[in-house]
Amino acid sequence: MILDLLVQGAQMILVLALAPLLLGFTRTVKSRLLRRRGPPVTQVYRDLLRLVRKEAVLADDASWLFRNAPYAIFSATWVAAALVPTFATGLHFSWAADLIVVTALLGSSRFFLALAGMDVGTAFGGIGSSREMLFSTLAEPAMIMIVFVVALVAGSTQLSEIAVFMVDHATLRVSLGLALIALIIVALAENARIPVDNPATHLELTMVHEAMILEYSGRHLAVIELAAALKLLLYMSLIGCIFVPWGMARPSSGFLPLVIGVATYVVKLAAGGFLLVLFETSIAKMRVFRAPEFLGSALMLGFLGTLLLFVSRSF
């Protein structure tokens, strides 16, 4: 019991600690791939600290919503991230919420982000929010379809259960393959990565996520950035926990498995980050109105997978 609580707490701290690192890692690797030296891996931590120390500049007509949104965004994301098994399954609170809830939590953080974007009443904020919501209208159903596939295979929407199931009867399924691709697409879109959005851009008309947080500064910006980093980590660990669940520690199984679990988890993250960067450097960003088709394909894949499972359980 106590151990479980500790593990749970440890996980929450861990994700919080690792998130900026993952982000920094991807940036560094990216610049290396682009033959640049790039910032050190810990650069993101420094940025956050600097932002936190700066004073926060609020637009004249920013409301209370504008000031509180960052915390709402952050906490929703954090809770979601804390609910995804990373290095150990059967977390103490895992049954408090399942994959659908995780999706919905991310949804609420997006909701607040979009509102925050509109609060000051600038054109760019509006652009960002409306495009973000457009993407979400496709990404969320796709996510639900993915949930369907996984849940139908594993007979549960509980992430821990799913992970255990995957380890125990690891089988190759067409549907799972489709789901994986769909999930990757969704993850790219949700984290504002190329080809849907460019995290590094400041060419206003093309940006989505950046446009919404344009008016933020100081600690508020820091919190939002951290939330973004968490989100990236969350999707990584989600893919990890569903599709490569090996090496996770089983509930209340001594200390060594936990260590192994953490180690494998870090390795997974590194691999994931590397693949992401590889993918990003190898393709170009697409026009905003190509993105719906991109996401639509994810929805279609997920739906196809579900259909296959419904029609016959052998796929």
Binding site: I100, S129, S130, T137, P141, I144, R219, V223, R313
Partner: protein, 672 residues
């Protein structure tokens, strides 16, 4: 006997309605307060009784027969579990609306056209729910339509409202006639109109099937099922806001009650294809409704369309329940049904909040067009706060209640691979996708609604000079919001309260929820899925506080106000903000062509010409174009044709008679 007390309260409501005119003539000032207060009291009484009946505190069994209505049958009234649930729903909405109206009603321009009908409307809805024979059911049903119609016509100088009222009442009576036919079938040639008798009788398959179809026409048209929804976005906004709230939040649920009562209770065991029909209609309704909602500029009409969406979601749940029931899978059926009813309840909560908010905005600014609003969060913080909560709830975001019911429906969908029929195997996942799609769109819709209305800078002087809602309205809205939260984090008790209903209707129930560890809900089994709203809520609460504390301890507290940066091009003119239409533009661009046959004509002046460019956007309601416009056209065309008969000469009239005579004589000659 509780039913007796309910009827007493209803009678009291009628009495209030009857006394309203003289109260108005006497003490005009306090009339509203008096009447709405009295209504609130009466509804509270019924609410208490219903809750007691539902939780088994009092024995609600037994039918009360009054010597009214059909003389040889009498008017029969009864409270069973289903009725109790919907009584709670109706009167919760009733109490809220009445209390809200105590404040809101002061701004009513034509109280004389609202006050007498409002109590009668409440009474009608209550009677529909407790009626236990076809006649009193239909009388109450149509009376409900009639009184609400009268309130839709309250502001009758506006031609739009008159049109709305017309479409509304015609659709309503069409629906009533289909219900009439349905009950005719159920009652049989002997005309046994008591529900008990219908329940007992065995109905042939074609009879039951026809009844389902007729119910979809009758109850569906009142609930706003596509393609019978057209009246709803016209009529609901036209009424005064507290009435709109009742119509959208409660009356549609009464329609759903009618559907459930007949299809699940009276029509006998369902065939599996019923669920195909219901699921299809439900999914289409959900998606089309919310797609329309995203495009609306009129705040109340937007809310009305979102009502259509939620009705669709409820019908998806009902369809699943039918599918499971037809295949004798009691557990899943119970889950689906519970989810559907739960969502109906939730919707009545947050839709009331939203309409109340819309009403407050309307009174504060006199505007329903959100393009003319903006920045109200600073002028009307309380209303904005409650409205935001309503938006979160209706967008199905945890930890609020909207999420729980939709989560349960998704869980029910995940159980459906066990269904044997192929048609369902294909249809159910599609319905699931539609549901998720609708939910996501709802998110976009309400970000837009709240963002444009309350955030940003005021787009009109009225919006700039808005005042916050009065104490009554904001109080009611916040209370309802609190209710949404409580129901969202402690759904267990609601689910257990719905236990007897699923027992009654599908012969099974979900596992008892109240006593699970950490108050989580488990639809089927712990290993499958579970959700603990309480824990999630605490999680979020703690982590938020934690984050704030940490930040405020380690970060600088300094804040500087400055003009917006806006990439260095700040422009104080509110017109430079993103508008509602531009917010919807990406969605319109993606879904518009197929959903609305949307067309955009942009006329650019030649370069160097300073005259403004114009952009004309046209959206069509395809349902109206494909069904209603032609019907109206045909009717008028026939009328035109026949109208010539008005202008014939006497001789031609005589020849009509002559022809009839000769024709009949020929007939006789041939027969005899």
């Amino acid at each position: 006997m509780p039913i007796a007390w309910v009827l007493v309260a209803v009678a009291a409501l009628f009495a209030i309605a009857a006394l309203a005119p003289m109260t108005l003539s006497r003490r005009r000032a306090e009339a509203g307060t008096l009447i709405y207060g009295a209504c609130a009291a009466a509804c509270t009484l019924i609410l208490v009784i219903a809750l007691a009946a539902l939780l088994g505190a009092v024995d609600a069994g037994g039918t009360l027969v009054l010597p009214l209505g059909l003389p040889w049958l009498g008017a029969r009234f009864r409270i069973d579990a289903l009725a109790a649930v919907f009584l709670v729903l109706v009167d919760l909405g009733g109490v809220a609306a009445s209390l809200y109206a105590i404040g809101y009603g002061r701004h009513e321009s034509a109280p004389g056209r609202v006050l007498p009908f409002y109590p009668a409307f409440l009474a009608g809805m209550n009677l529909v729910v407790v009626a236990a024979d076809a006649f009193s059911f239909l009388v109450a049903w149509e009376f409900m339509s009639l009184t609400s119609w009268a309130m839709v016509m309250a502001h009758h100088h506006d031609a739009e409202n008159r049109r709305a009222g017309y479409v509304y009442l015609v659709m309503a009576s069409f629906g009533t006639l289909s219900l009439l036919l349905a009950f005719g079938l159920l009652a049989g040639a002997q005309g046994d109109y008591a529900f008990a008798a219908m329940r007992g009788a065995a109905h042939a398959d074609w009879v039951a099937g026809t009844v389902l179809g007729l119910m979809l026409l009758g109850a569906g048209s009142k609930a706003g099922l596509v393609p019978l929804h057209v009246w709803l976005p016209l009529a609901h906004p036209a009424a005064p806001s507290h009435v709109s709230a009742l119509m959208s939040g409660v009356m549609t649920k009464v329609a759903i009650y009618g559907f459930v009562r007949v299809v699940f209770d009276l029509a006998g065991p369902p065939a599996w294809w019923w669920s195909v029909v219901v699921l299809t209609l439900g999914s289409i309704t959900a998606v089309l409704g919310v797609l329309h909602a995203v495009m609306q500029r009129d705040l109340k009409r937007l809310l009305a369309y979102s009502t259509v969406e939620n009705v669709g979601i409820v019908f998806i749940g009902l369809g699943l329940a039918l599918a499971f029931k037809a295949n004798a899978m009691a557990g899943p059926a119970a889950l689906a049904l519970t989810a559907a009813l739960f969502h109906a309840f939730n919707h009545s909560l947050f839709k009331s909040i939203l309409f109340f908010g819309a009403g407050a905005v309307l009174t504060a600014t006199g505007k329903r067009d959100i393009e003319a609003l903006g920045g109200l969060i600073r002028r009307m913080p309380h209303v904005a706060y409650a409205f935001l909560g309503g938006c979160l709830a209706i967008a199905a975001l945890p930890p609020l209640n909207g999420f729980v019911s939709e989560w349960m429906i998704l869980q029910a969908i995940l159980l459906s691979p066990a269904l044997p029929q192929w048609g369902l195997k294909f249809l159910v996942p599609a319905a699931g996708a539609m549901l998720a799609f609708a939910a996501a769109l709802a998110g976009a819709c309400f970000v837009r609604a709240f963002g444009i209305t309350f955030l940003g800078r005021p787009r009109s002087p009225e919006a700039a000079g808005a005042q916050d809602g009065d104490r009554w309205s904001t109080g009611v809205m916040k209370t309802l919001l609190g209710l949404c939260l409580v129901v969202g984090i402690l759904p267990n008790f609601v689910i257990d309260a719905l236990h007897p209903v699923s027992d009654l209707l599908v012969g099974g129930a979900m596992p008892a929820q109240s006593l699970l560890p950490h108050l989580s809900i488990v639809p089927i089994s712990e290993s499958r899925s579970s959700y603990s709203g309480l824990l999630v809520f605490l999680f979020i609460l703690i982590s938020t506080r934690l984050a704030i504390r940490v930040i405020h301890d380690f970060a600088s507290r300094r804040v500087r106000r400055a003009p917006a940066w806006d990439c260095g091009w700040p422009d104080p003119n509110p017109a430079t903000q993103y508008t509602a239409d531009s917010f919807a533009q990406p969605l319109r661009r993606v879904f518009g062509p197929m959903a609305f046959r949307s067309r955009i004509e942009a006329t650019m002046p030649p370069p160097g010409d300073p005259s403004p460019a114009r952009l004309v956007l046209s959206l069509r309601d395809l349902v109206w174009d494909t069904f209603y416009a032609p019907i109206a056209g045909i009717v008028l065309a026939i009328a035109e044709k026949l109208n010539h008969l008005q202008f014939l000469t006497i001789r031609s009239y005589l020849s009509l008679v002559f022809a009839a005579l000769v024709g009949l004589l020929l007939m006789v000659a041939v027969w005899a």
